[in-house]
């Protein structure tokens, strides 16, 4: 890079374009700052409607290095420029910097339809060939940029230039009419960055009501603005816009989304409470309500349990210390937690499983599965039993489940339930084939034997004999059945 820098310095000092630098009058100095900025944002040097500017560069580097060199020399001479950078940047929001459109050398020239490929020519060739104009297109450029101030680019042309990545001052479009034409042109051009830039300008220079009104009939621009406001986090303006458009559900969801940014639980709870009244759809409203209620409960449970844990009196917390807090966990996870730590509590307390079930209308199926998983983990087989036992009106108990018993078996097995317990439930599996599969898999011999007996399948029963231990009770059982 330094070699290039030396070259450029040399050229710089020998070029007749020296005239326009820092010794110029004040207004040109400020213009230089503007153009410096323009140049720094690396535009597309080769303009499609300028004629033969080839992308010749000093040492084959991208032309941007020229702009780099200008900045270097500029900044080294006037360090004050740096200080003013920030203020100027704010002021320059009327400029829009846009991406250049063309991707690479050969493609761009082909795209222009010229058959000569860009030449990475040596310095001397460049000198002799295309004339002084090519040396420092950057140097030549800013003068043309100056013209931007005074010349009248129509909205259409402005958009065109913006698409090509040129700096354009939009300030000149003062009347509402002009601004709207500019916007429509930008939309017609389809380039998102241009549309966004124009919208930023309009947002700054138009009264809100007018802006909203105009956007209402311009769907594409409207969507762009909404997206822009979402990205920049301008929540208030976004909500105002959505309310204006009567996009009530969008407003609600947008507002709700904000809760994710609130880390403090109490504040989040308050925020969610506020969300309940928002115009969600009927279904969603109940979900938001549930979300709030759940968090409220979790805060209470968390505080209480933490107290219990530190006090050290509660056995369950001693045996199974908590690995994480229950805050912000989904409902089912909370239910599992409650079935694990607070199973026996009466319905009145906030932490009892039955209370949760009632408050959130948890369906039987989900409840039973979760309670089963929790009790199985604690190896509380009696509790498991009680879950499925119902007394009918005659006083007889029988086992029932809102899910297939094969699911119960699965969960029990995952928690390493002893065979006797497993066997109970395998026996209850309705589908014979599944029952046999599970029984064989988990070595519930009695069930296998009984099932084969019921099926009157001598062959299988005999075959199964080799799977049981010699001299065991099971073997005897098989033999006695076979002999009858």
């Amino acid at each position: 890079m330094s070699r290039a820098r030396a070259d450029e310095e040399e050229y710089w000092h020998s070029s007749k374009f020296r005239a326009f630098t820092f010794d110029d009058e004040d207004d040109e100095l400020s213009q230089l700052k503007e153009s410096k900025r323009a140049v720094n944002s690396l535009r597309d040097i080769v303009d499609d409607d300028d004629d033969d500017l080839e992308r010749v560069s000093w040492s084959g580097e991208p032309v941007g290095s020229i702009s780099w060199s200008i900045k270097e020399t500029a900044s080294s001479s006037t360090s004050s420029l740096e200080g003013q950078d920030s203020s100027l940047q704010r002021g320059s929001s009327s400029y829009a910097a846009f991406p250049k459109q063309v991707s690479s050398y050969s493609l761009s020239s082909l795209f222009k339809g010229r058959n000569k490929l860009p030449s990475f020519q040596s310095l001397s060739d460049a000198l002799s060939d295309t004339g002084v104009k090519n040396y420092a297109p950057e140097l030549r450029r800013p003068k043309a940029e100056y013209k931007d101030y005074s010349s009248d680019w129509s909205p259409k042309d402005t958009v065109r230039r913006m698409q090509r990545g040129k700096v354009c001052s939009l300030e000149r479009f003062r009347s509402l009419q002009d601004k709207l034409v500019l916007l429509d042109e930008a939309v017609a051009g389809h380039d998102g960055n241009v549309i966004t830039a124009v919208l930023i300008f309009l947002k700054r220079t138009l009264r809100r009501e007018i802006l909203f009104r105009e956007l209402e009939v311009r769907q594409v621009a409207l969507c762009h603005l909404i997206h822009f406001l979402k990205e920049t986090g301008e929540q208030k303006l976004l909500l105002d816009l959505l309310r204006f458009l009567d996009k009530t559900e969008e407003v609600a969801l947008s507002q709700y989304r904000e809760h994710l940014n609130i880390q403090d639980v109490e504040k989040r709870r308050e925020f969610l409470k506020g969300c309940i009244g928002l115009p969600f759809s009927a279904e969603d409203t109940s979900h938001i309500q549930d979300h709030y209620t759940l968090l409220e409960r979790q805060i209470i449970i968390e505080a209480n349990d933490r107290h219990l844990e530190t006090a050290g009196q509660s056995e369950i917390f001693r045996k199974y210390p908590r690995k994480a807090s229950i805050l912000n966990m989904p409902l089912v996870t909370t239910l599992f937690y409650s079935c694990f730590y607070h199973y026996t509590e009466a319905e009145g307390t906030f932490s009892s499983p039955t209370n949760l079930k009632k408050t959130f209308k948890i369906p039987d199926k989900q409840y039973v599965l979760t309670a089963l998983a929790a009790r199985a983990k604690l190896r509380a087989w009696d509790d498991v039993d009680a879950l499925f036992t119902t007394k009918n009106w005659l006083g007889y108990t029988k086992k029932k489940a809102p899910v297939g018993f094969h699911r119960v078996v699965e969960i029990l097995q995952r928690n390493n339930a002893p065979v006797q317990v497993l066997q109970e439930y395998v026996r209850l599996v309705e589908d014979v084939e599944t029952r046999l599969n599970l029984a064989t898999k988990y070595k519930c011999h009695d069930v296998v034997i009984e099932t084969y007996r019921d099926l009157k399948d001598r062959i299988q029963l005999t075959a199964y004999k080799c799977k049981v231990e010699r001299g065991s009770a099971e073997e005897e059982k098989i033999n006695s059945i076979l002999n009858n």
């Binding site: 459109q101 339809g113 997206h227 969801l253 979300h291 409902l331 089912v332 948890i362 599965l369």
Partner: protein
């Protein structure tokens, strides 16, 4: 700013790839650091070649932007990419399209051509036809689990820019005498493209057909290595040695792919994979798509990964032209209760995208579409396929069927069905300079560029390649897209980010 204070000598440059965005610059400006960058450039990548017949823009957010946010900037870039392509390979005389976005891209292309008349060039057109397809014309295909070799690698491990990272255990070189003491801990990174002979041969096959290819290859390579025993003369030995590098490369390639195939097989033979696939196929063949599905419910209850649930539930919705309100509410409630209420936001996005929505018209169009386009083929042959449905072992990707029917006999034969699919369909012709009109020789294939706006899966690519090499197909396909996707990455791009923003 901090960095600058630390090392004032350092120059900071920023390179935006693929293109700079105004929002980025705005934000940098607000932070007060925009001026600190000496260079702000953009390195424009529009269409990136991934293989001899595959181009991608790798724009992850294209689908979300176009269909959720009505931001069509990525379409603009697609159009520009196409203009560049035409500059290199000649103006494409015929443009067909289906979908709103397709229409936009075509309009932009035509307009760009008008505005730069100088770009008319004298290159002989390589492409005869351009087919632009919106992703939302076929929302079904990305949701189903791909069953080609490459598709499965992507589904399970994720292929990033033709590279895949695999668990290293199976790739540890087996040296004699060393009892596996140094097991590698870094994931094994492999590059996958058609430069690798074996990969090119097996990538697009249905996974069940890969095993036999590998074992045949193993025999061939073994036999080749055995040749060294037959080499007697110096000349023969010399010849053998000269072929050695190629044989070694082939052997290492075979070893890698045998390991990968083993890894995949472990997954595809699992009960969970089988159950999932069964339900997918039930939905795709139209069975019980209007009821709450037991397997799905069980998966939610067992808290399977959320994306898997979302893929299945969206698949059911698409195969039913939307779910009945009761069924939809039931699923939503279960999902929110199990995974958290904040997922309302994601569910809302999925509804907006048309993936998980209530049935509006009260009618289910899917059976008609399925029957007319022959999307479900019962008699699929995985080993020696005769139809594109082999890529999903029974389901023919809707998008590829549309391409297939366009070539022969043309879309007029499926007008009715086309109307059931979202978005307009159209045809445009672009003028070629005189003398460039191509006259196809008899037996010469037409070349069609298929551009998927919103993403394409490897299975669809495989299906198009299958069509290309069909004996009397008549058309060769080149594929372009905004992004290479699979069901998981696609749904992920539509999920609401739930962590607070870092800024």
């Amino acid at each position: 700013r901090e960095d600058r204070g630390r090392s004032p000598q350092r120059d900071f440059h920023i390179l935006f790839v693929p293109r700079r965005s105004l929002l980025c610059e705005q934000w940098l400006k607000e932070q007060g650091v925009l001026g600190s960058f000496i260079h702000r450039e953009q390195y424009s990548l529009d269409l990136i070649p991934f293989d001899g017949d595959l181009l991608s823009m790798e724009s992850e957010s294209a689908f979300k932007e176009c269909y959720l946010e009505s931001d069509q900037t990525s379409l603009y870039h697609a159009a520009k990419g196409l203009m560049t392509l035409q500059a290199l390979y000649g103006t494409i005389p015929q443009i067909f399209g289906k979908g709103e976005c397709a229409r936009h891209v075509a309009n932009m292309m035509i307009r760009m051509k008008r505005e730069f008349p100088g770009s008319q060039n004298s290159i002989f057109p390589v492409f005869d036809t351009l087919l632009l397809l919106d992703r939302n014309v076929d929302l079904l295909t990305p949701l189903a689990t791909q069953l080609t070799y490459e598709g499965l690698i992507d589904e399970i491990y994720g292929i990033q820019n033709t590279y895949v990272k695999l668990p290293p255990e199976k790739f540890a070189p087996k040296k004699q005498g060393e009892g596996g003491k140094d097991l590698p801990t870094e994931p094994k990174k492999l590059q996958l493209n058609s430069a690798e002979e074996l990969y090119a041969e097996i990538r697009d096959k249905n996974f069940n057909a890969v095993g036999s290819v590998l074992s045949k290859k193993a025999k061939i390579i073994s036999a080749a290595f055995e040749e060294r025993h037959h080499a007697k003369t110096v000349g023969e030995i010399k010849q053998f040695v000269s072929q050695l590098p190629h044989m070694q490369a082939a052997r290492s390639s075979l070893a890698n792919h045998t390991s990968i195939a083993e890894l995949i097989k472990d997954i595809t033979t699992s009960e969970d994979f089988f159950d999932n696939l069964t339900v997918e196929q039930e939905f795709m063949s139209g069975i019980d798509t209007d009821k709450v599905n037991n397997y799905l419910e069980d998966c939610i209850a067992q808290k399977h990964p959320l994306i898997k649930i979302l893929r299945l539930v969206c698949l059911q919705s698409v195969c039913n032209s939307g779910l009945k309100q009761k069924v939809l509410d039931h699923y939503k409630r279960e999902i929110l209760q199990t995974y958290g209420y904040e997922h309302i936001l994601t569910l809302n996005n999925l509804e907006k995208a048309g993936l998980l929505k209530p049935q509006t018209s009260g009618r289910n169009n899917y059976p008609t579409i399925r029957k007319t386009l022959r999307l479900w083929m019962d008699d699929v042959n995985e080993q020696n396929p005769n139809d594109i449905s082999y890529v999903y072992s029974g389901y023919a990707p809707l998008s590829v069927r549309l391409a297939q029917l366009l070539a022969r006999p043309g879309w007029r034969s499926i007008e009715e069905v086309l109307k059931m699919l979202p978005g307009p369909h159209f045809e445009e012709r672009q003028q070629l300079p005189t003398g460039l009109q191509k006259k196809r020789q008899h037996g010469e294939n037409r070349v069609t560029l298929v551009f998927f706006l919103g993403g394409v899966t490897y299975a669809e690519i495989a299906a198009l390649r299958f069509l290309s090499q069909m004996e009397d197909g008549g058309t060769e396909y080149v594929i372009a897209t905004t992004k290479l996707i699979n069901g998981t990455s696609w749904i992920k791009s539509l999920m609401e980010k739930l962590e607070p923003a870092p800024f």
